[in-house]
Amino acid sequence: MKAKKGQVSVMMGNAVAAYAAKLCRPEVVACYPITPQSEVAETISGLVADGALDAEIVEVEGENSAMNVVLAASMAGARTFTATSSYGLVYMYDAILQASGYRAPVVMVNVNRETPGIHAVSSGQQDMISTRDAGWAQIIVENNQEIIDQIIMSYRLAEDFDIQLPVMVNYDGYYLSYLNEEVEIPDQADVDAFLAPLKKQPQRPRIIPGAATGCGTHGMEMGYVEARYKHWAAMDRAKKKVDDIDKEFGEYFGRSYGGQIEEYRMADAEFAILASGSAAGTAKTVVDAKRAEGVKVGLVKLRLFRPFPEERLIQALKGKKAIGVIDRSLSFGWKYGPMCVELKALAPQIGSAPILSYIDGLANLDITIPHIGRVVDEVGAAAKGKPYQEVTWIPMEE
């Protein structure tokens, strides 16, 4: 470990996100406040007003403008930051597609919340899932410390010359956004040092006043195909890059998260649970309790959702006798939850084990210890060859 011990404070998830962004010294910030993200916008505006952060705050009238502002600033070479949630995320959808198509390394916090249709001011991952094919890297974190650390790591990923992709850092609205938790805020000099390699890279192309340039404007026929191919290839490269950055972060700061996925008590596990976000923290508690009873269960915490960690998941889950996937969102048209569908695509390489889909935690309904306990029991029974239910909406059976 090279970094010195940071300042330890008890902080709310949203404030933590703003402080993490501040440590990365964004030059342009444009946020529109929305529940449960508002404190991110408020806190970072306060940091700029107090002179703690030298950034241009652009006050916008909505999220669509927020994304267009940070996208344009990014194209001009600035480091940018924005944050949103739910309605805000879908209101900026066209600009989200532009940002990834232009390969603008915007870093955005998305505080997970249910989406329009049902006016649910509550937690859920439906917003993130609704933008999964937008070409962004999407990472989901579990706790407030991971919010800070992942935001810092996200700039290394987004602005890496080999990657050049916008990155969305997701954390559960309400559960983390309003949770006050002990966190260690790294020292500014250490964050500067960790991000310093970005300065040694070749210069990205950028908009320069007076020089006529175009980007994303001539995507006809093979121009389109080539740009999409490069984007696709960069998404594939990003997977290993996430692992590398996480390893380097661990060596520097002493905290590491496993990169694309975190494997928790997986080495000798006979069957596994897959979860993400704050629910993965609860799942660790359940795994520990079941292990104490002699049940050989392990947890895979999905951190990187886009690009999907195909190789790492196959490695972690190959040969397991059953897998239970807990989804906090829906993929309408599929019976299974979205993460379960994606995992099923890897079934040939994982083996012919049963994969059970669980829908839970919609609309701020807690994914409780008894809920996950039930998942472990059922997946454990399926691992022993007992009949199982393919899909379970846990709250509907209570």
Binding site: Y102, H218, V225
Partner: protein, 98 residues
């Protein structure tokens, strides 16, 4: 995968020199009328060039002129000009041009 494609863009993102590629479409053939400038009214403010959708206004040093190979005749320059220096004239008036 064996890539046989010859790369169009030198960069990772689809950046290109707008002078070469942005004005690639033959938008000049769409035109039914064209902007004609009264130089005595023009104060070289540049608003026409700023608003021009295909960005085909040529900077002539003391005024702007539409590049007719790309000007599609939308009339936005004439609409935005605060000095009313442009008049949109029908293409039929210029049938003698080769």
């Amino acid at each position: 995968m064996v890539i046989k494609h010859k790369w169009i863009f030198k960069t990772e993102a689809p950046w290109s020199d707008a002078n070469q590629k942005m004005l690639a479409l033959d938008t000049g053939s769409w035109r039914t009328e064209r902007p004609v400038l009264d130089k005595s009214l023009c104060n070289y403010c540049g608003l026409c060039a700023l608003y021009c959708p295909p960005q085909c206004m040529k900077d002539m040093g003391d005024h702007y002129e539409a590049n007719l190979a790309f000007c599609k005749g939308c009339g936005i320059c004439a609409k935005e000009c605060p000095k009313k220096a442009y008049t949109m004239k029908p293409e039929g008036d210029f049938t003698n041009e080769s």
